[in-house]
Subunit: 303 residues, 4 copies
C-alpha cells in the first residue's frame, strides 16, 4: 500500500508583513483562503518564498497555526520546518504536526557545508523523520544554500519510511530522472520551479512547489492536467507560455516581484523584510507587462 505522499501543484505562500514590519496575519489568512478555493492541490508555508530565514520561531508557529486554519482541510498543507540543527528541526517539525500540517519540508542544513558529508545528511534526515509525526520531504535549494545533495545521498535518505519526497529547485533533467528511477514509487519528486514542471512530469515527477502557483494557480494545475491527459503538445505550449511570468516572480525580480504580482491579482503581497528591497515602480511595471502578455493577469478572472 502506498504511503501518503504529496501530489500535484503547491504554492509556497508568501509571508505578509504590515508597514511596521510585523506579521500581517489577517492578510495571510485571506490569501490562504483564496488559495483554498483555487486549482492548487495545496500550499507550502515557510518555503524560501515565505522568507522563513527572517522569521522568529514564534512567528513561524503563528504562520502555521493561521495557515492551517485558513486552509481548513480544503487543501494539503506543507510546513517548512528545517533549521540549521537537527535538534531545532525536530522541535519545529513536531510543533508543525501538532498544529495540523500534513507534511514537513526540511531544508538541507547548509552553513557548515564543507563539513557535511553523506553520513551527516543521512543521519540528520533520518533523525528528523524518526521524530516526526508527519511525513517528511527533503528540500534542496542550491541557489540559496549552496548545497546540492548528490543523488546517492538522496537515495539513501529516501530509504526511511517517513521520508516521502523531495523538492529540488535546480531543474537538472538528468538528476530528476535519476531520482525518480532510484526512489520508491510512493516517493514524490517535485519540481521546485514552474519552469520545469512539464519536464519533471515527463520524467516521472509527481508535481511541484511553485512560486508561480501563488499567482497563476490555474495555469500550473492545467499543465499537470494536460500532461495526465497525454496532451503533450498543449502541456508544452502552456509550459512555454509560463516561462516569462515564472522568471518575473523568481529569478528576475525575486520575492519582491512575487509580492508585487500578488498585489496585481487582488491578493495582498506587500514588501519583503529587509535586507530584501521592495520592488521599484519600474520593476512593478515590468512584472505587470510580463503577466499581461502571458495572459496570467486577466482582470475578468480576479475580483
Amino acid at each position: 500500500m502506498a504511503r501518503v505522499h504529496p501530489v500535484g501543484v503547491f504554492a509556497p505562500v508568501a509571508t505578509t508583513f504590515g508597514s511596521d514590519g510585523e506579521l500581517d496575519l489577517a492578510h495571510y489568512a485571506s490569501n490562504l483562503g483564496w488559495y483554498a478555493e483555487s486549482a492548487l492541490d495545496g500550499v507550502a508555508i515557510m518555503g524560501s518564498n515565505g522568507e522563513y530565514v527572517s522569521l522568529s520561531t514564534d512567528e513561524k508557529l503563528k504562520l502555521i497555526e493561521t495557515g492551517v486554519k485558513a486552509i481548513d482541510g480544503r487543501k494539503k498543507v506543507i510546513a517548512g520546518t528545517g533549521t540549521e540543527s537537527t535538534r531545532g528541526s525536530i522541535e519545529l517539525t513536531r510543533k508543525a504536526a501538532e498544529l495540523g500540517a500534513d507534511f514537513a519540508l526540511v531544508v538541507t542544513p547548509y552553513y557548515y557545508k564543507p563539513r557535511y558529508d553523506k553520513a551527516a545528511y543521512v543521519k540528520h534526515y533520518h533523525s528528523v523523520a524518526d521524530a516526526s509525526p508527519i511525513p517528511v520531504m527533503i528540500y534542496v535549494m542550491a541557489a540559496y544554500t549552496g548545497v546540492d545533495l548528490p543523488v546517492d545521498t538522496v537515495v539513501e535518505i529516501a530509504q526511511h519510511p517517513n521520508i516521502v519526497g523531495i523538492k529540488d529547485s535546480g531543474g537538472n533533467a538528468p538528476k530528476v530522472g535519476e531520482l525518480v528511477a532510484r526512489t520508491p514509487e510512493d516517493f514524490s519528486v517535485f519540481a521546485g520551479s514552474a519552469n520545469f514542471l512539464y519536464a519533471a512530469l515527463c520524467l516521472g515527477g509527481k508535481g511541484g512547489i511553485l512560486a508561480l502557483g501563488n499567482v497563476a494557480p490555474s495555469e500550473c494545475a492545467q499543465i499537470v492536467r494536460l500532461f495526465e491527459q497525454g496532451d503533450h503538445a498543449s502541456a508544452l505550449a502552456l509550459q512555454q507560455r509560463m516561462l516569462a511570468p515564472n522568471a518575473a516572480v523568481t529569478t528576475r525580480f525575486g520575492i519582491a516581484g512575487l509580492k508585487a504580482a500578488m498585489d496585481m491579482i487582488g491578493l495582498y503581497g506587500g514588501d519583503p523584510r529587509p535586507p530584501l528591497l521592495p520592488a521599484t515602480d519600474a520593476e512593478r511595471a515590468q512584472v505587470k507587462s510580463i503577466m499581461e502578455q502571458a495572459g496570467v493577469l486577466d482582470p475578468a478572472r480576479v475580483g
Copy 2:
C-alpha cells in the same frame, strides 16, 4: 523553407591513438566505418570526447579528412572547429568545409572568460558564421570550459542565418525549454549527454551529440524513435535504463571509460593522451558490469 540543420543522434567519436601516442588513423577509419552502418544519424569529429584540445592542427585536419572518407556520405559529419581565437576558428572551419564536413561545431572561447561579455560572444560567432561555408552549431560545455552561455546570448547569436543549432551539455531543463521557445523552428537544440535525451525531446529538442552513442547507438536512436511514435512510457523506461551506462562513459570514468567500453563492443578504443590517465583494470571491470546489466553489452550483437 527550413535551413539545413542537424537532426537525430550523433556520436562524438573518440580519437584513437597508437601505443606510441601518435594518431592511429586506421583504427579511426574502421570505427567510423562501423558507425556509418549503425543506427546513428551522424558523427561529431573532435568534440570533447575526441580530445580536440590535445591535438595539433595537422592532426585535426587528418582526422576530418579520414573521418569524412570513412563515413562516405552515409551519415552526416559534424566537425569540431572551435579554438580560443576568432581567427583560428575561422581558419579551421573553412578547412573542415573543404574536407567535406557537413556542420561546424564551435565551442565557446573560454580562457579569458571574465572578459567575454555578450557582445564578445555574439561578434565571435557571427564572424565565424559569416566566414563559414557550412552551417555552424554553438557548443556549450560548461563542465570543461566554465562558460555557460546565457539564453539571451544564444538567442542573439541564433539570429544569424548560418547558425543552425546548439549542443548544450548541462541538462538544465528550463534552459533547454527556453532555448527551444526562443529560437527558430529550424534551429536545433541538441542534448549534449544521453542522460537527458528524452527530456530534451519532450521540450522540443531535435536530438543529441551523445558519448553513449559511441557504444549504444541503437538504444540512443530507439529513444528518439519511441518518442516520435508518442510512446512516452517506453521512451522513458529506455532512457532510465541508459542512465548507468551513460554515466560510465562520461562523468564516472570519463574518456578512458568510453574507450574501454569501445574496446568491449569490438571497436578500437585504446588509451587517451596524457595527462588523461588510462582506465585501470578495476574501472574496466566496472564499466563492463554496468554495460552488461543495462543490456548494452550483448556479445550476440557485436561481432
Copy 3:
C-alpha cells in the same frame, strides 16, 4: 580622535553543550575565565566556531550574559549578533549591548544572496549601525555563507561612524591590502584565520579573530608582538609553525577538531550540535599529534 576599535588577538569561543545537547553554561564560564587570564586581547562569542546558527535566541542571550560575566572586564567581548534580517540583527545587537558586549560582529545576510546588491548590504549595515549602542564589525565568512563582499561595498559601509572593523576569513592578500588602504586608520581589518595573521599585520591589519586563539592564545599573541617589534623573521617562523595546528582546528577537522583540541589543553570542548559530527578517535589522535609536533600541546603549560 580615534574611535574605539578592536585591536589584537581574539578567540571565537566555542559554545559548550552537555551530553543531552543542552547548553553547558558552567563549562562555558570556566573556559572564558581561562581566556580572561590568557594572552588574548578578547573573545568573540557566537562566531561561526560558536555554532551560532544552531542556537535559539534565548540560548544566544544566555551565552552573552554568561560570557560577559566570566570575562568580567579583563578582556574585550565581541558578540556575534547578525541574523538573516535587518530587524533581527538590530534586536539582537541591542540586547548584546545591554548585556555588556563591547562590539557587535554582524555577519553578512546570505540566504537570498542572488538578490543582495551593494545597496542592500549598505542599507543593512547602516541600519544596524544606526540602531546599535556599541560599535559594529562586518563579518565576512565566504566559505560558509557564499558571500564575499566586494571591496567597494565594504568601503562604502565603512563610512558609517559606528562601523569600526571587518573580520575577513578569506585570506586574500590583495583584498586585505586594499581594505586597509581604503578605510580609515581607526577601522580595524582583522584576519579571520590564524594562517594569515602575519600577512594581515604586514598589510596594515590590526589583529584577528582566530579559531587557533582558543587553543594557542600565547602563540597567536606572540606573532603580533614579534611583528610590532619589527622582528619579521621570527614572526614568519612562528606563523609557519602555526599552519598545521591552525588547519587542524579549522579546515581539516572543523569545530569538532577545535573542541577536541580544547579537551586536550584542559578546557572543556565536548561535541558540536548535529548535524555536525563529533571527532572520531582517529581524528582526535591526528589533532593531538599535530599539536604536539607544533609545540602547542605542552603538558607543562596547561594544568
Copy 4:
C-alpha cells in the same frame, strides 16, 4: 648548492599584433629591447598576458626566437610552454630551450579538470621536467583555468629536481605561506599579480611575474628593493600606490587595458586578438587617469 631558480620581477610581455591581426615582430622586438634596459629581472614570453591560447605553434616559436634575440642575454627569459597535453608541453618546452629560453613556465592542463587528480598532475609535471633541458616553473592561473592546484599537489610536484618554482595568481596568503614553508629554499614561489607582491615577499616569496611590470617596471622592482632593505613601511606604501594601476591593467580592463597603457608609455601595445575586444576610448581615458594619479605615467620618464 642551490639550483638555478628565478628571482625578482618579471614582466609577462604582451604579444603584439598588426592591424591585419598578424604577429608584429618588429614592435615585439623593440618592446623587449626596452625591457632589457629596464629595472626588470626578466621577461615571461607567452603567459596569459601574451595571449598564448590564441597563438599557433609557429607563432609561439617565432615569439620565443625574437624575444630571446631582443633580450640578448641582458635579462632572464621565461617561456610559456604549457599545452593541454603532456606530449605537446614536452615538445614546446624542448624547442623553447633550443631557442634559448632560461625557464619554461608550464600552465596546469585544465580542460578535463574534473578528471585530473593529484596523480595526473604529478605525472604530467614530472614527465615535462624529465624531458626539459631547462628548469620548469608551475603556472597556476585559476581565474582563467578553473584549476587551483592544492598545496599538497604542488609540494609533491616540487620534489622533482628540475622543477624550480611556481607562479600563483590567486593571492591567497595562507597558500603562499604554506607553499614557501613546504618547498625547498631554492624553489621560487612567485606572485602572479603585483597586488600581492609585497605580501608574497613577506611570506618568503622570491619575486613575481607581474602584468604591471610591463608598464611600471621601476616601481615593481622598487618594492622588492625596499623589502630587501627592511624598509617595510615604504614597501607597503608603494605597494598600496600600485593597487589602482595594477587593477587597470589586469582585472578591470584586462589585456586591452594593459596594451593601452603600453601605448601610453611609448611602447607599442595595439589591440588583442578577438574575441578579446579592444579598449574603448572611455576605457583608455580611465587607464590614463589611473596611471597618472598613481604617478606611473610620467612623460619625463619615458621617451
